[in-house]
């Protein structure tokens, strides 16, 4: 006696072609996941090569660590905080120190040279001006 096939094997409930089985779906999902994984791996590798992090770290180790620290700080939400304002203030003052020092040294040199000239007096001749030039 031949078994009658189940109606759902020929047609689905809505009259369309029969849906693929569960195993086929799982295989398809597995293939898609595998492909996605490969793509992510390739993209990460390309990104790493483009940035060339290893060589940069070898050349500037402290700078790269500081950059990572800064990125983490921003990601942690510390950018718009009072601590950042204070840090920026301190950094600005430290950065302006060499400039101020240069200005002060220039001012002191100008004052010293000015006092040296005033010792000769306003009508005082420069000693070298009395010597006739050799030419």
């Amino acid at each position: 006696m031949a078994r009658k096939p189940h109606p759902s094997a020929r047609k689905s409930g809505n009259g369309r072609a029969p849906a693929p089985g569960l195993g086929a779906r799982v295989r398809s999902l597995n293939r898609a996941a595998h492909s996605f994984k490969q793509q992510v791996r390739t993209t990460a590798s390309d990104f790493g090569e483009a940035l060339d992090v290893r060589r940069r770290v070898r050349r500037h180790p402290y700078a790269m660590v500081a950059a990572a620290l800064g990125v983490g700080y921003v990601l942690g939400g510390g950018l718009f905080s009072r601590t950042t304002v204070r840090l920026l203030g301190v950094a600005g003052r430290v950065a302006s120190l060499p400039l101020l020092r240069g200005e002060l040294i220039g001012l002191a040199e100008a004052m010293l040279s000015g006092s040296g000239e005033s010792e000769d007096g306003p009508t005082g001749k420069h000693p070298a001006s009395d010597v006739p030039s050799p030419s």
Partner: protein
């Protein structure tokens, strides 16, 4: 304490201080080289640790 003795003591102190400073400089230089070596050997780990540390500091600063 006469002037000569004072001068001698000051010279000794200066020599001792210079020696200490030199030692401290050598130790700092050694530490610097070791840190750079670790960063160069494990760049990914170091960067991740720095990133995590920055994240934590940023999180604390934002509160």
């Amino acid at each position: 304490m006469d002037g000569q003795t004072l001068q001698q003591t000051l010279k000794e102190q200066q020599a001792r201080l210079e020696e200490g400073l030199e030692e401290a400089r050598d130790e700092l230089s050694d530490l610097n080289e070791r840190v750079i070596d670790v960063i160069k050997r494990r760049p990914g780990t170091c960067l991740l640790i720095a990133l995590a540390a920055g994240f934590l500091i940023g999180r604390m600063a934002s509160r």
